[in-house]
């Protein structure tokens, strides 16, 4: 019964979003506002996971919404809007990563007062800078966003085989640099 209700509410939500997308095509700003409210947390979250900078993540999320609305004519199937928006966000994140200048990384030890999670994030941010944008994105989408191989392939617009080999390379590289960092910290 609970499962049925969940499925029904999901179907209702999907139908509701479909009407919003139709209205957005006509430039309806009220519909745009509803779509932004629905998707903003998810977009900011994925951008934050990739870029490791909350402020930059908000900027990218804004850009993603603008691009999605501006180019709504390119969307062939209104039901696929959510995936289309997510893909735009991921690709904007890739552009940001590629445009970043390489920085010399310094592994900072936490001072014990900032909290374990914050320290983990600081270290992860440093380690991820040592990966190429493509490996970093593949690793984040699989490990943090929990996307399937097919979903990663679709979002990054590469074959599944490429995702597999990149993921393998990214995981191995990450293990290596994580070991170096944790051994230095001791």
């Amino acid at each position: 019964m609970v499962g049925q209700n969940t499925a029904l509410s999901r179907a209702e939500a999907a139908a509701e979003e479909l009407t919003w997308v139709t209205r957005i095509r006509r430039g309806d700003e009220v519909a745009m506002n509803l779509v932004v409210t629905k998707h903003r947390q998810r977009l900011i979250r994925v951008a934050a996971n990739v870029l490791r900078d909350r402020h930059e993540a908000e900027d990218v999320a804004q850009e993603a919404f603008l691009k999605a609305f501006r180019e709504i004519g390119k969307l062939r199937d209104d039901k696929a809007f959510s995936g289309y928006l997510y893909r735009i966000c991921v690709r904007l994140c890739m552009d940001k990563l590629r445009s970043r200048k390489p920085t010399s990384e310094i592994i900072e030890k936490g001072d014990g007062t900032t909290g374990a999670k914050v320290e983990t994030r600081i270290l992860v941010e440093r380690l991820l800078t040592k990966l190429t944008p493509e490996l970093r994105m593949t690793l984040v989408l699989r490990e943090m966003e929990q996307l399937s191989y097919d979903e990663v392939a679709e979002v990054m617009n590469v074959p599944v085989g490429t995702v597999r080999s990149r993921l393998h390379a990214a995981r191995e590289r990450f293990r290596h640099i994580w070991l170096e960092a944790t051994q230095e910290a001791m």
Binding site: Q41, A48, Q62, L123, L139, L167, R171, W178
Partner: protein
Amino acid sequence: MSRKPNFKELLSLDRDKSFSAKEKETLSKLLASDNALAEEQEEFNLSLNFLKDAAYDEEEIKVDDTFNGRVIRRFRVEQRNRSWSSMLPAVVGAVTAAVGLIAIIQVVSAPVTESTLDLQNQKAELETSEFPVIPEFTE
């Protein structure tokens, strides 16, 4: 026929639970026979769990109340700029045509003057004199 995955690739497949039964058996045998490999597997999973722990949850993403307004406002400004840009060639064309029309009207409606040049005589002078002759204007 695809090549057999190596040990590190098996670790990756194990993490994603995309094993065949044969691959699972191969990995189990390898781990049972070699402590160094078992240690590598542990490091592999520890490092990736460390990465996963650094993920942001949706619940901790607090969005500013002004976020939506900023998006809509920027979209509105972009649309306005875009319509000005698309109108610009037509506006420039219209202004050019108007300027051209005004110029033609001015030329056509200008008063006619009676000044003439005695060209024939001046031409004879030019052929015979050593010095250049400045033609005289007679009115």
